[in-house]
């Protein structure tokens, strides 16, 4: 049976930065047949890379492009935004949009390093939480 995995934005960040959890993230990703990333995560990750490059002088966008070239990038829509509003817990609307996007696109699972997302939305979709360290 094919399995699809939705990557939260922080997964991209942790891999590009080679954070201590990158190895575990890689191990989980390798188990899935299809990999999805929302267009919002793509935007945030580029924002992050450009900002970090300006501040550190290190190049990150090339690595991000390589990662994204392998993933399916999925769009959000006004329907997804409405769904996000209806499932919103706490105050992080972006988390709700990510979860609503994954559900709308019938992803089997979300991979994140955000404990709040894991705690708030695990009742709606399977969420694998890989702590930052």
């Amino acid at each position: 049976m094919s399995k699809s995995l939705f990557l939260d934005a922080n997964v991209l960040y942790n891999i590009i930065q080679h954070r201590p959890n990158a190895k575990e993230l890689k191990r989980v990703i390798a188990e899935y047949e299809f990999i999805f990333v929302s267009a919002i995560s793509e935007l945030f990750a580029y924002n992050y890379c450009f900002y970090t490059e300006i501040n550190t002088g290190k190049k990150f966008t090339d690595d991000l492009e390589k990662l994204l070239s392998i993933c399916h990038i999925i769009q959000t829509s006004s329907q997804v935004t409405k769904n996000a509003k209806s499932i919103l817990k706490d105050k992080d609307f972006e988390d709700a949009v990510q979860v609503a996007t994954a559900i709308h696109n019938k992803c089997d699972c979300i991979l994140t390093s955000d404990k709040e997302m894991y705690e708030n939305y695990s009742n709606l979709i399977e969420i694998i939480f890989v702590p930052k360290s």
């Binding site: 960040y13 990158a22 890689k26 990703i29 990999i35 992050y48 390589k66 990662l67 930052k132």
Partner: protein
Amino acid sequence: MSVIEISSHNLLRSFKQFMTTVIEGGLVRFTYKGKTFKIVEEKPMTQGQKLAQMIEEITKDKPVNDEVMEEEDIKKLMKSYRYE
């Protein structure tokens, strides 16, 4: 798992038999000039496996970055700095 040992002498005669073994998930060992080769079916990589391979490639020369950073700070970096 079925295992077949073949050599250059019986390669053609046993071709159908060893291909059937490979297709059924068995193991075929081919010996030639004292070296042994394993013949297995090449399966296409999944998107996850390709991405894992890419992650390995882009992280292999980078030191692990264990600088402590709170989730809030990361989120600010990723989305809010433009509006501050």
